[in-house]
């Protein structure tokens, strides 16, 4: 419950969401804190939430001295925030004392002091053992009592007395002209001063909180936007976030297979932020829908903030390209939050995102388009907003997908201010050639992954987005019909080529075949010659044999043949016939 800062100043947690982070542990314990601001800026609520949270969450009963509203009015006012003041009073955790002075029924004569106030306050504190006190706002006394001198010295005494009493007090004060409070309460309460403010910018109200002073402690010094909604006050310390978020190595699909392929084959990094810039009608929302669809398919939770289309319209439109977002909504995986950008100020949008993100524990957040918020603020505001969105999404580990509408001509320059904040930046462009408009997609950057440098044609089909390679012709990039024509041309070319190839093959084959025929012919001739040769040889042999036989028979007939059948060769010689 107690949190000590480095310097050892004891602090009391307020329980107000975000404030304890900025103050590094809450308000100074045992000291008064001045909360000032204009009418309707949430001073009373701030004080009451401080008391209620103290009583319900930190076991510190409280006393509320209201100088303006009755206890019943206060209870009614904060009932919508879930604060049950009457129950807290019944259970002795809270005392509300309404102190009012009606100048018309009071006459002043002679000296007096405000001991009655002290007595009432002390009695109230003692009755519940209060540790927290709200005075809302003692400045009302200035309207009821004419002796300002007495009043001032008594207030000074009161704040001193509160310190002595050791209660942590919140004192509210209406903002005066040129001064923090109308009657200079800041002179007496100097330990901690918190300034609340609400400004109207472009018809939207933004509430801001700033810690003007916090004696003895470091604190966030920026102006922090805050919001009053059904959860009470929420301060957003998002601007104070550092670059300390972790980085996941996990990759998640873009929902478009071809785009996954372009992004190193695996898609975006989980927890990264993706910006899709394009002019009107380039398919930005569709890409977002694909991404959401892919997340829901994985069973993850997603939120789609739509600033242009109602949930029903979005679901219907996505159905036309084969994406059924309705079933994810029914399953509770997808929450589509649609609001006109002008409904609230920038900060309010941010806070709603915060709440929804926490509520749905979303893994994937799509903001379509983030540029819708831009007209609501200056370039600086928008940069700050995007920075905060990116930071808080990263802090929560959610993957952020933002679309941004940009004019074709200066697409890159307008987005420059936010481009450095995102990890993956995809550009969608329209090109107009040959009487038609076609979509092109390319990845301008994608941190930490090898990604394609190619321009792809982006097609919306009945089965979702498809990416096609584009053709680079002499006249530039070819898309759409030109690409189709080119593809047909290519096919024809291919056919022609194939045909030529066939012809040539055929010709060679024919030549080969004729050669083969020739070879066969020669072969046959060769065989014939060989046969002829064999025949000649056989003939010769036969003739020889016949001649020998003839000679033998001749010899025999001459009787010159011996018994052995061999003709005697007296001279060993034989004369040929």
């Amino acid at each position: 419950m107690k949190e000590k800062s480095r310097r050892g100043l004891s602090k009391a947690l307020t329980g107000i969401s975000g404030l304890d982070e900025i103050t590094l542990g809450g308000l100074p314990r045992g000291r008064p804190t001045l909360v000032c601001g204009g009418a309707g800026c949430g001073k009373t609520l701030f004080g009451l939430e401080f008391l209620v949270r103290g009583a319900t969450e930190f076991g510190e009963p409280g006393v509320c001295i209201s100088f303006e509203e009755s206890g019943h009015d206060l209870a009614t006012n904060v009932a919508s925030l879930g604060f049950d003041l009457e129950k807290l009073q019944r259970t002795k955790k809270l005392v509300i004392d309404h102190i009012y002075i009606d100048k018309s029924e009071i006459a002043e004569t002679g000296e007096y002091d405000l001991e009655g106030l002290f007595i009432r306050l002390e009695a109230a504190i003692d009755s519940v053992g209060a540790k927290r006190v709200l005075l809302d706002t003692p400045e009302a006394l200035f309207a009821g009592l004419s002796d300002v001198g007495v009043l001032r010295s008594e207030l000074r005494r009161l704040f001193g007395w509160l310190k002595e009493k050791g209660v942590t007090a919140v004192i509210t004060g209406e903002r005066g002209e040129g001064t923090l409070t109308r009657h200079g309460l800041e002179e007496y309460v100097s330990d901690c001063v918190i300034l609340l403010d609400h400004r109207v910018q472009n018809d939207a109200v933004t509430r801001r909180l700033r810690i003007l002073k916090y004696r003895g402690s470091t604190h966030g010094t920026n102006e922090y936007p805050f919001l009053i909604d059904e959860h009470g006050i929420s301060v957003l310390p998002v601007t104070s976030l550092g670059l300390t978020h972790g980085a996941s190595k996990e990759r998640i699909s873009t929902g478009i297979a071809a785009l996954d392929h372009m992004l190193g084959g695996q898609g975006y990094f989980r927890g990264s932020s993706i910006l899709v810039t394009g002019s009107a009608g380039t398919g930005k929302t569709t890409m977002g829908a694909h991404f959401v669809d892919a997340a829901c398919r994985r069973g993850e939770s997603a939120i789609l903030f739509s600033f242009e289309e109602s949930p029903q319209q979005l679901i219907r439109n996505m159905r036309s390209i084969g994406l059924d977002l309705g079933r994810w909504v029914k399953k509770g995986l997808l929450h589509i939050e649609a609001a006109r950008p002008s409904s609230f100020g920038l900060e309010m949008h941010l806070v709603r995102m915060h709440h929804l993100l926490a509520e749905h524990r979303a893994n994937v957040v799509v903001i379509d388009p983030i540029s819708a918020l831009l007209p609501g603020g200056s370039a600086h505001d928008v940069h700050a907003l995007v920075l905060r969105v990116v930071d808080f999404l990263k802090q929560s580990g959610a993957t952020g997908f933002f679309t941004s509408v940009a004019v074709e001509e200066d697409m890159q320059s307008t987005s420059l201010s936010i481009s450095s904040l995102v990890d993956t930046w995809i550009l969608l462009r329209n090109i107009e050639v040959n009487g038609e408009r076609n979509r092109l997609l390319y990845i301008l950057k994608s941190r930490g992954m090898a990604h394609s440098n190619q321009i792809r044609e982006f097609l919306l089909t009945a089965h979702g987005v498809q990416l096609r390679d584009v053709y680079l012709g002499p006249g530039g990039v070819l898309t759409g019909s030109a690409r189709v024509a080119r593809e047909a041309e290519e096919r024809r070319e291919l056919l022609r080529q194939q045909k030529t190839d066939k012809d040539r093959q055929f010709a060679v084959k024919v030549a080969l075949r004729s050669l083969e025929a020739k070879i066969a012919e020669l072969q046959a001739e060769k065989v014939a010659r060989e046969n002829e040769l064999a025949a000649v040889i056989g003939e010769d042999q036969e003739q020889k044999t016949t001649r020998l036989a003839d000679r033998d028979s001749l010899r025999r007939s001459r009787g010159m043949i011996d018994s052995s059948g061999r003709s005697p060769r007296p001279n060993g010689r034989e004369r040929k016939p």
């Binding site: 004569t109 002679g110 000296e111 001991e115």
Partner: protein, 110 residues
């Protein structure tokens, strides 16, 4: 002194058949010089202007702090005229008799 006064006022009330016309309460916080001053001033004024027709109750908030809220007491001392209606409050030590008389609507009586 104060309790005595209170009892005296009450007994006076009981013994008298008619209700006193003026019902007054003086809120103090302990016996401070200012409280005593207020009390003596009040006594003097009452005796002078409302003789026999008043009742004064003195409430010491140090002893009964819970009574402060009922009459919306803030300043000390405070004199409250509960009767006749409407209620009137006079804060301070009642040193300015004229203003006290105006505050109590007694100026008309004379």
């Amino acid at each position: 002194m104060k309790p005595a006064k209170q009892t005296k006022a009450k007994t006076a009330n009981k013994t008298k058949p008619a209700e006193p016309r003026y019902d007054l309460r003086l809120y103090v916080a302990g016996q401070t010089p200012r409280s005593l001053q207020a009390l003596s001033n009040l006594k003097k004024i009452c005796e002078e202007h409302l003789a026999g027709n008043y009742r004064v109750e003195i409430i010491d908030l140090l002893k009964k702090p819970q009574l402060a809220a009922g009459d919306q007491i803030l300043a000390i001392p405070t004199l409250v005229r509960t009767l006749p209606k409407p209620a009137r409050k006079i804060i301070g030590d009642l040193s300015n008799t004229e203003r006290v008389l105006v505050g109590l609507d007694l100026r008309l009586l004379r």
